[in-house]
């Protein structure tokens, strides 16, 4: 069994939701990203989502946009992100999903990307701007290299689209909590429970909910309903505020620990 499936299985056995942490790779530097990944593992995070910085992130709110700008300014590239994963894998078994826009992967070459990502120790890939209809060229190379394709579904997805995502996808199904870009929101969507039920009906994969979840209270609410909770912008915003300093990893560990605790039902 691969690392992603195992992580969700362990969480289920422990009667809690899996905690998925998102950070932008290369923010503030790729060396710090490796430290942060270790810190997140110590905090008890189950899955790490690494954002590949892109110049035009249309699915992201201001927090992640600024993180991508910082990462690009520090010189982070897809090449560099894969090299960082390789270093991380020397002593870290945390499941890793790359969260990326299509263009850097296309430019890298899809087949070469899939081979290099698998060799580096990536477990899954999530494309923010490739819907099921356009997944054709990406699907084969990922599959041949045993990489899970993590599919996004949203409150606007029809039942047919959710099923297609369930068929194509691996690892877990990522349910976007509400229509919108990434970023903290004061409240959760009123339809969340219904949307989680719809995603469950469409697929046998574990369902993790993300976008807009930032506080331990929100995490606890979602953890009661879903198999996994994704927190991104809240952690990214913390990293942005601290900047490139030696205390960064410890601070992120403290911050993430509180969120992880909230996953226990």
């Amino acid at each position: 069994m691969n690392r992603l499936a195992a992580a969700f299985r362990v969480a289920r056995r422990e009667k809690r939701a899996a905690f998925v942490a998102y950070v932008t790779a290369g923010d503030p530097t790729l060396a710090r990203t490796v430290e942060i990944a270790h810190a997140l593992q110590r905090a008890g995070v189950d899955v790490l989502e690494l954002g590949v910085p892109f110049s035009d992130p249309i699915a992201d709110g201001p927090t992640n946009q600024r993180a991508a700008e910082r990462a690009l300014a520090s010189g982070a590239t897809l090449n560099g992100v894969l090299a960082a994963v390789k270093i991380l894998r020397e002593d870290c078994e945390l499941p890793i999903v790359l969260f990326t826009y299509a263009n850097p992967v296309l430019r890298y070459d899809i087949s070469r990307f899939a081979e290099d990502a698998a060799a580096a120790g990536v477990d899954g890939v999530l494309f923010t701007d490739v819907p099921a209809e356009e997944m054709g060229p990406f699907e084969g190379p990922l599959d041949e290299n045993s990489l899970d394709l993590v599919m996004l579904v949203t409150p606007t997805s029809t039942r047919r689209r959710m099923k297609a995502a369930g068929r194509l996808g691996g690892g877990f199904l990522y349910l976007v909590s509400r229509a919108g870009v990434t970023g903290a929101r004061p409240d959760l969507s009123a339809d969340l429970a219904d949307n989680i039920r719809a995603a469950r009906r469409a697929s046998s994969l574990p369902v993790a909910v993300g976008f807009g979840i930032s506080t331990p209270e929100q995490v606890a609410k979602v953890a009661a309903l879903a198999d996994g909770v994704v927190v991104g912008s809240a952690i990214v915003s913390h990293i942005g505020a601290l900047g490139d300093c030696d205390e960064l990893a410890d601070e992120v560990e403290k911050f993430a620990s509180e969120l992880v605790q909230a996953c226990r039902r």
């Binding site: 249309i58 590239t77 299509a102 356009e134 606007t156 997805s157």
Partner: protein, 398 residues
């Protein structure tokens, strides 16, 4: 001939629908509404009436005699889209999509704008149709197209400054897409060029093909023949697609798209995607030719003309280029500004800096063409908006 795009929105290898999942539902809804409207006689009649009584169509075809005589070669004809209400061809599409928003029951429209011509057109359509309107515009473009910012405000549109990236058209589209993802249900995004996810490249082209249909008939009537060459500037490529489409089947008519050569072909200094520096990529929902670095990051662009200052190009243009039907070339800032002055002085017409790129190319090739030949230039917009910026550039020139 097979009509493109195919049912997945592809023009050959280019096009498609690369967007966040949230937008798949509204894009499907838009495509259904558009296909229904294009078969609906009442919709078409309403649009045609507005194009005639409100926009002022058909726009004239004008033979630029003094300009042509001064060049001493081919005769240069202008398709006067600058005489459209609001001063550019953008209104053709903005009204079509505005009506479509009403059909879909959406009370709010959003748009991006570079030169401000599309923003003004959308603000106009929104005022006419009673829609709430928000326009995203890069702060660099707000500075150099200040007149259009004032015009949008006058018509009740909210202009939202975009500070990200190069603070130009690309960044405005990013923000408009983010708004749409967040407000999908009650909002229609009126994209202004033949860009973006399917069905936009097809739909915007279709709303603009009125330019070429008129021009072809007018030209036949006036000159008893077809032009030897049709020239249009290409930012995203909507005025070019609008005039080219009718001429594409007439293979004796040469078609030339003119991109912004900016300050030269070094990275970041131009927007000439076809100059050999663009590579196949995905930007703003479509697979197309994109100015990008080796890591797939999108490059900044430069052009004196805000409307051409964009790193990607409409997917159908890439297909036209690969098939050899259309030739693409570029003209730099200085040549465009020179053409801007020549037209003003020889014909009393002040062109938009975008259109001045097409004109500059025509002026370059016309002298070497035989006297009996004809070059048709799509004069896509008027230049009032550019007076301040041209003055500034010329004051700062070394």
């Amino acid at each position: 001939m097979k009509t493109l795009p195919d049912d997945r929105g592809y023009f050959g290898d280019y096009g498609g629908r690369f967007v966040p999942e949230t937008l798949m539902a509204p894009l499907a809804e838009l495509e259904r509404a558009y296909r229904k409207a294009s078969r609906d006689r009442a919709f078409q009649t309403r649009l045609d009436d507005l194009l005639r009584s409100y926009v002022g169509r058909p726009t004239p075809l004008y033979l630029a005699r003094r300009l042509s005589a001064g060049l001493g070669g081919a005769r240069i004809w202008l398709k006067r889209e600058d005489l459209c209400h609001t001063g550019a061809h953008k209104i053709n599409n903005a009204l079509g999509q505005g009506l479509l928003a009403c059909e879909m029951g959406k009370g709010r429209v959003i748009a991006e704008t570079g030169a401000g011509q599309h923003g003004v057109a959308v603000a106009t359509a929104a005022a006419l149709l009673g829609l709430e309107c928000r326009v995203y515009m890069g702060t660099e473009d707000m500075r150099r197209q200040e007149l259009n910012v004032v015009r949008m405000g006058l018509m009740g549109a909210e202009v939202v400054p975009v500070e990200a990236g190069s603070r130009t058209l690309k960044d405005a589209i990013n923000e408009a897409l983010r708004d749409w993802v967040t407000n999908v249900s009650g909002t229609h995004y009126i994209l202004g060029s033949v860009l973006g996810p399917h069905p936009y490249p097809m739909m915007v082209r279709d709303f603009q093909t009125v330019i070429g249909r008129e021009a072809l008939l007018q030209f036949r009537k006036a000159a008893r023949t077809l032009p030897d060459m049709v020239v249009a500037c290409v930012g995203g490529g909507s005025n070019a697609a609008g005039i080219f489409t009718a001429f594409v089947p007439h293979e004796n008519v040469g078609l030339v798209g003119v991109e912004a050569g900016g300050r030269g072909l070094a990275p970041g200094e131009h927007a000439a995607r076809f100059s050999g520096t663009g590579a196949s990529g995905i930007l703003h929902g479509t697979r197309t030719l994109v100015l990008q670095d080796d890591d797939g990051q999108i490059l900044d662009t430069h052009s004196v003309s805000a409307g051409l200052d964009y790193p990607a190009v409409g997917p159908e243009h890439v297909q036209w280029q690969e098939s050899g039907r259309v030739t693409y070339t570029n003209v730099d800032d200085e040549e465009a500004i020179a053409a801007f002055h020549v037209l003003a002085e020889s014909e009393g017409i002040v062109p938009a800096l975008e259109s001045a790129h097409a004109l500059a190319y025509a002026m370059k090739v016309a002298p070497a063409m035989p006297l009996a030949t004809n070059v048709l230039v799509n004069l896509s917009g008027r230049g009032d908006k550019d007076l301040g910026e041209v003055g500034r550039v010329e004051r700062e020139a070394p």
